[in-house]
Amino acid sequence: MNDPVVAKRPARPGDTGAERGVAAAPHASEAPIPPTPEAPVTTKAPHVRPGDRIFRGLATGSGVFIVVLIGAIGLFLILQAIPSLGLDNVNFLTSREWNTTDPTNLRFGILDLTLVTVVVALVALLIAMPIALGIALFLTQYAPRNLARPFAYVIDLLAAVPSIVFGLWGLFVLGPVLFPLSEWLIGNLGWIPIFAKGNVNVQLGGTIFTAGIVVAVMILPIITAVSREVFERTPTMHVEGAIALGATKWEVVRTTVLPFGKAGYVSASMLGLGRALGETIAVAIILSTATASFGWSLFDGGSTFASKIALAAPEFNDARSAGAYIAAGLVLFVLTFVVNAIARSIVAGHKEYE
């Protein structure tokens, strides 16, 4: 009667102590039987239930799958890019020239693409980070509860707006609105390189300035949403500890919420930066084609990696030209990877709050 029960035990480690004690009692009261019947059970290999095995397989499979997928994408990019890189007649990393219309004389360098991509993303990040922080703090700390939820939905809704809509808005609405401001900045602060007169017609608004603001709006929801989740999880005991010391609302935020949420906020921003680097269609619509190379001004035009590639679709029928764009894509891939790695290391550096 006891044996089948006991045989099942090892698979449930949490229960063994108490239940085995109960099961063993009748033995003891009847006669001092040596524990031989149980001995084989302990030496047998631990019994794994099919459910456990299947679930473990699925979970491991998913983990392996994503690693293989990323590896495959990287490998694909490298293999496609190498032949064209060999045909490049200018230095790929340091040239500002991009001419792939003649596959027999490929001249492509990524310097301008890299700079424009990074500058657009940084402008977006610089605008979005403080605003997202403010919204997240407002939603978690200051907003009345019945307002916080609908407000959060509205922010999330912003993420649901297709990027083509943001692009059109940037080109037709925001660009013209920004013109007076842009003109004023160029006129009065033009001696600072970033506000210098750029290489495109500022009246059309197709500048890095416009694109940066539009991308900022686009990455705002992701930074806000992640930061909000993190701030919401500030341990109550620490918040109460601060309140009990006589901290005001802002002091509670400063002593508990911000230190607790810092790592999450930074990684949320890096997520946003990753999206900003890869943002394609909105940027492609907004940025005017530049006649001269990038000169470190916010009122320059040009192309980012993604917008350049998107607008080059007609050239993809020749493998050599396509390879040039794939090489550019590879650099974007690596750039995003590096950004994520930096974000990880920042987060890992703030482990004390756990």
Partner: protein
Amino acid sequence: MAKRLDIKDLNLFYGKFHAVENVSLAVPPKNVTAFIGPSGCGKSTVLRSLNRMHEVAPGARVEGKVLLDGEDIYTSTVDPVEVRRTIGMVFQRPNPFPTMSIRDNVVAGLRLSGVKDKKKLDEVAERSLRGANLWNEVKDRLDKPGGGLSGGQQQRLCIARAIAVQPDVLLMDEPCSALDPISTLAIEDLITELKKEYTIVIVTHNMQQAARVSDQTAFFNLLGVGQPGQLIEVDDTEKIFSNPSQKATEDYISGRFG
């Protein structure tokens, strides 16, 4: 400066739920008052209303008066932040700020009230840590994070943090329930020391602890599920544990509860 607390006709609510009904009791200065009673009887809620922490919970409401040396802490002109700076609190689970060093934890309250002088802060840190019987254990690692200490040390760090601002009253919400017996003993000894200077109110589930550390004991009880908690009786600790005037108290302390 130790002050007295007088609670008058206190009624506490969480939204529509009436949590505590008609509590009146006096807490003399330089004295330890223990709140005992079954779970859910409202003793922690009463404690939290004494430094206006109760109202931090959404929908929480207070009716009645709490007088600190005769002045009602619930009049509309009183800033709850100021109340909390003069009535310190120690929680059930030690909660030092994990990103702050031991020293910064101790002086966090002073920093909040605007003290910047480093020499003064260092002095207060040492005095408070000595006061909390922790100085000898941490004096060589004041710059290390407070989270690295043991549970009992963390709780004494929290007590040091609470007494650093020299509060008028010190509230303790089951300060030993997350600690092992040796750390508990250390805290109990500390409470006995602290009452020379501070007025202390302690909530405890441990009746031996109430008997050991307190001068006066208040017994709270619940008439039934969903009913508000009530103060059954309050008296000298010796009397409560030897010859209580209410039967409910006697049943509870002798383990015949329910």
